[in-house]
Symmetry: D3
Subunit: 324 residues, 6 copies
């Protein structure tokens, strides 16, 4: 049996206990661990609203509601997966370069142990730090990016490392295999016509929100799976992919987006892909209401765990992990 699993809600009501993600054990030693939740509460990279530093705490609180069995996939996640909450990285607020180093240093031992990290942001700039660590382990990886923005601007006010430029930097640094990269959900006004073109020029395959919803989820999933193919993949999910009616607690919301259910269906459709890491970014609880955004974020992380558990059950082995 897997070594670590959440506290049993039938023994202790879900509102009790100090709030790790899903009330998982708080463990930093990666022995016997398959997947690890890791908070990166860095938010200096934003261009508008700010406050993602409290994202991990809020999502952990909301995750108390989540239960171990995944209905649609029909899987007992923790019968197949040993999961811990590895706490937060001690990033340096206000200093993105120092913080990137903290991220790489913090993720390396997790990745080297063959553990799949599930990172809670923080703003989207952290994905560059994560990809540096991931590519250090796996080489350039496939990317599935749920986002209403391309994040391929070159700089803001002279700053080259921000939540709007991380994707361009990651491509420039060779961390992403752009032939295996898809961005889903782009919508909303842009700074100029070159924005979307620029993302495409970098080799990204874009599926804007309107195309996504008009073609239908099944059609888009087929295309995503075809492009992503085999090999290691990183999934990054910016909560602003979802319409602000369902996810108000974020920094640069764009109206007219997919629903929560659309998001869940898309993620569920990624079953079988070899994921080596995930993140969920841009939750700003200060703008949330009734925890709806944090609960959605926690549920998406739960979906990610289910994807890993399915892989493990189906293939009798985790991607990137040597047999115990």
């Amino acid at each position: 049996m897997p070594k670590y699993r959440p506290v049993d809600a039938m023994k202790a009501p879900r509102f009790t206990g100090i709030g790790s993600f899903m009330r998982l054990p708080q463990v930093s030693d990666m022995a016997g661990v398959d997947a690890a939740i890791l908070g990166i509460p860095f938010d200096t990279g934003v261009s508008y609203r700010i406050g993602g530093r409290f994202g991990p705490a809020a999502i952990r609180e909301a995750s108390r509601l989540l239960r171990p069995y995944h209905v649609e996939h029909e899987i007992e996640i923790f019968d197949h997966l040993s999961v811990v909450d590895a706490g937060d990285l001690s990033i340096v607020p206000g200093n993105i370069q120092a913080s990137y180093q903290v991220m790489v240093d913090g993720l390396r031992p997790i990745l080297e142990s063959g553990v799949v990290p599930l990172v809670i942001g923080g703003d989207h700039a952290i994905t560059l730090g994560e990809l540096r660590a991931v590519a250090g382990r796996h080489g350039p990886v496939g990317l599935i990016d749920f986002d209403s923005h391309t994040d391929t601007w070159d700089s803001y006010w002279g700053e080259r490392y921000t939540h709007g430029t991380w994707c361009r930097r990651a491509i420039e640094e060779g961390l992403i295999d752009t032939r295996r990269a898809v961005q889903l959900g782009i919508r909303g006004s842009l700074y100029g016509s070159e924005d979307r073109g620029g993302a495409r020029a970098l080799g990204l395959h874009l599926v804007p929100t309107e195309e996504l919803l008009q073609r239908g989820i099944e059609s888009v999933l087929a295309e995503v799976r075809q492009r992503i193919g085999a090999g290691p993949v990183f999934l990054t999910f910016d909560i602003d992919f979802v319409d602000p009616g369902f996810a108000p607690g974020t920094g640069t919301p764009e109206v007219g987006g997919p629903s929560s259910r659309d998001a869940l269906r898309l993620v569920r459709g990624l079953r079988g892909i070899e994921f080596v890491g995930f993140d969920l970014v841009e939750v700003q609880p200060q703008y949330d209401s009734g925890e709806v955004t944090s609960l959605l974020a926690g549920t998406l992380l739960h979906e990610f765990l289910a994807l890993i558990a399915l892989c493990r059950r189906d293939r009798q082995g985790m991607p990137g992990r040597a047999p115990a």
Copy 2:
């Protein structure tokens, strides 16, 4: 003409007056009454967030916005129905057994007068109390349960009477005719694989959210009507059936659910069924925002009234009620 109807908004602005439901007369004598709003502000049965004791007050406030004519059904509700607000039952917070007795005692005279009760919760545990009273009058009844959870667990921490076990208890007590029972909207993570199976083993027919939305509302309605057939039916609506983007003010929200409009369309499709009682449960105004949840709850109660009015108009007689 019906004896009781709301205050006329053309005579007194809707924000004036002490807030009974839809500003209906506050009456406890059931003579000349066809349907009665009744608050049961009991919330001891919950397993996570709490606060439904203020649900009736919040829904009454929000219901000021509702008007007497139902557009889609094209009916002047109060030309066919005499409706009152019968106030709240004086349940005993913290004591579920004593409160069940209050519920049975409070509902009996209403039911015996042939009045259709529309109960505002409170948490879902109250439905057991209501069903005891309803079955005492009508025998085992059909059940239409809108809910994102099956509520068929056996116990929590040794407690057998909670908002997550009422449905199992009701079946055990023979209050529900399970051949005529449907649960709509199940979704979200579960404690284990046995949860959904357990509900089915009890004889419940489940239509999970994904099936509901993929098959489409018309298809599901046809199935519901076929299963429910003729005879008395109780409708219980847990507001967490609806996605938290539309109904954040509840205790155990599950993302990825139907919209408000989906809910309205489903309820409207139940025209012609012989309803002997309704409830609307699990609104927790502390987690609401801009009254959206309370307004949705009030609108659903308005839909229930329209269903009764339609029956009365169509059949020239109310279910379970002797001619005046």
Copy 3:
């Protein structure tokens, strides 16, 4: 090149500067202006919740997020359009007649300069004041009214000028060419069966929410375009057209409505119509959460600007404006 455009977000972060709409220049001289944002913070006309006087300020704040390029239309709005924020009219709270005079006096010079006004309300009663000015310039105009209410009641408590009666008054005053008038989105309970019939008796063409969503947006757009035909048109958008899950910050919300995306798609489909004025009304920020309503309202105004820019680009000339 157009004379006026927003502050460049690449030079000054979007949260800096005093918040005019989209950080446009604050200009009252209409020379060299194609379109002007104008606040009319009048809210005495409401029948239930109140507070639209702070609508213009809230929408201006939220509009900081909007960027100049419109993705779906593929147009650089401000390469084709010179736009300013003309500030607010100094209406007289509590005195609707005096305020109507302020509106007519304030809009006349804008319209006479051939500038297209985009008005931010305020409650829906202001549309009568705007239509008086618009009809004074253009004669009776076509009307596209996004709204969950018909606003064709005759009076409230003896008051003939309110947010629920403006449309009847406008027709009585001959300001609208009812053959070219469409109301989209009617839903929710009514005071009586005569309400909807009354609107139709006035010559309005109604497309209720249920019909709109069941027929589909493309079908309805075709009908709208056919009815509206050629000639000057005024577009009024009551934010309560959209479901309160997406737009909670309003005065008389009706659940079960279209989504934000539905609204955007409908507006985008109006390309090519000769609009001579727009308004966006009934935002009440006191009931909003996380600015979602204000951001939606600002985005709709951005869509209106795109419609004008498209016309100008496509036809090489603005409706109702003499060549410079």
Copy 4:
């Protein structure tokens, strides 16, 4: 024993029941009544924030917390006083003249029955309507006005009847005996030096906040009692008298004010004065948080009831009321 008293909290939890003030009987017939709560949800008179139309509903909800025994005065209020909630007047929003007529017509029968009205606003403009009714019964009355503003401006934008001018109008109409009138709490910035001088020129005795708090409550109370002397007195309490730290839910807050406790001590010190009416105005629940403002407002009304009960007990007879 008095005829009417609140529901017993030992029989029905305080959160149950439809929310009249303190869960008092809802009665319009004034026979056997000593004091009556009356809502006047009129808010057209404001100059800045708006929303007092929901003040009565919010204060009634918060008043569920209040209990019948007054500790500091050591009196069982309802052993000496028969109190009812007479509901709301159906004022006409947007029309101050029509609404004044509703107020005079609505208060007259209450006053003529010798009942002391305790009015819940609504904005401060309503006090003029109340004073017309009161003076119609008692002649010019003494006035104790708790307020951070003098409300003696002549007009706003041509409007002579507003929440900032009612006091000047009342003096001009001869409703107040200015020799027996005191304003407590004036503070904050003014439109000009003439504002405070103007109030004094009208004959009002002002005790600004700074003087009030520096001299001390006992000293000021002595002065108030000396000036007020014998004869009928009306007490009006604008919640903005209290610092917004304690009462954020109001329309024109002024920082640097007295605390809640200061307010309670001042009101308690008015024991023995012959009050013929009270009001509590300018609560705007949209700006409140955690009901603190509404609870303070309800508590002040409870204090007013205690003052009347004390009079009745001490003098064996109510002011202005014939023996039964």
Copy 5:
């Protein structure tokens, strides 16, 4: 040096890490521990608002702001005290008797290890459970109770164990040495004149809010210290002692109370008393705003820690603890 201390804020920003109280180690083994934070998220005992089950989580989050050095006492708390966060007890919501057993069982080993528990509620009913455990170890103890209510009612609706009756039960059970018991802060309306008298008849010494603030803090402190004398003492702090302007997030607020600073000064003045346990109860974060109530609660717990640290430093030994 003490074994356990908080995470160093100079190494990891205070918003990082999973939120134990003050980011103390999460430890259940009491070896080497001087004081332990313990959450008891039980809230079934309330009579009005509910939600204290989320009190411990909210106070832990807010406690991130607290630093180790206490300025007024000039003490490095954690140089003298080894403190841990022992997590929450798994109480049974809805079942007060079962939960009392959990409390006694959970506190016994802590007390037997000579550790001082600092309990975070939950509602005030939990204090009875704590006192049973404390008296089991120390015999009847002195009591200092900060509260705006006496909590000496006999029962509510037949329920004898509630947040309003715990103190009477504790006296009846012989857990409190009433000669050494003081209640500070009583104010607000009561159910009847017998309430305050009843508390005094039980032997409690009451210092109502008005007396407390008029006599002054120094005078009251002297009296408290004189009455409490030597021997073990339990301190219970109901957050509603403080005015709702400073502590809105609670269940039965009473306006007109002491300020936060008054509370801090009173607690600081209790230096030198032999405290064997503390609790902080009745925080309901659902009604809080900007975390002000939770931060105040956390700061009071910090003050309690300082009192223990002072004792230890001054006496070279902790009350009730055997030398290591």
Copy 6:
């Protein structure tokens, strides 16, 4: 007469118009200007909560309530002072060094024109940038610092420029004449005993909150005036000086502080000092409620304007400004 003054509230209701501070003219040319409001929405310097980038916008909105006449000082501010709103500086979020350069460059021309800047933050780190500019014009200046923290730490996580270190840096850079420097309001827990000592070692004169409130405002003011003496002085006001009951909207609140009124009285007592600049920092509107913090901040800026106006009236000349 002064050249610039606010819009007349008697001509345009205060809620109309685009929200500059007090609706002052938006002017960047300093000719004819005596004092200028300037926003510096920089918030990268914080150590805990973040969001001050929206401080200037929120304070400007709240400042609509302020009127031109100052009651306690009996002065028509704008009869003596020409004031403008100079907008915001385009700082670079995330880059403190670049932003300091923007601050120095932006303030230099204002100071060189003899205009007194009143800066709205932003976090307290900006004060270092301002002092560099001020000292560049005036040499080392006196400092009056209202704050609950000393802000004299050396660094956080290796970062030397933060909102907790600016004061140490300013002293090291020789920008402050420490013989003429006073810090008022220090309170709350510290990282260690060296914190307060360190501040004193730097030469700062500290008056902690407890000393301030126990000695009384008059006594402290006398001491401040004696230490400050003659010569140019900069006043910095961190809103967390005030208790979070009155000012919840801030980043590192400390309970137990002075009231709003205490703050106003202290500032009013500084009449006659030669102020060459002011700032008001650390408002975070995301944590505010009902705008109470923003209104307090705006009122303090209004007090600062009154201090300048008094100087000008009393001395017939402004500090540091050549006669026109």
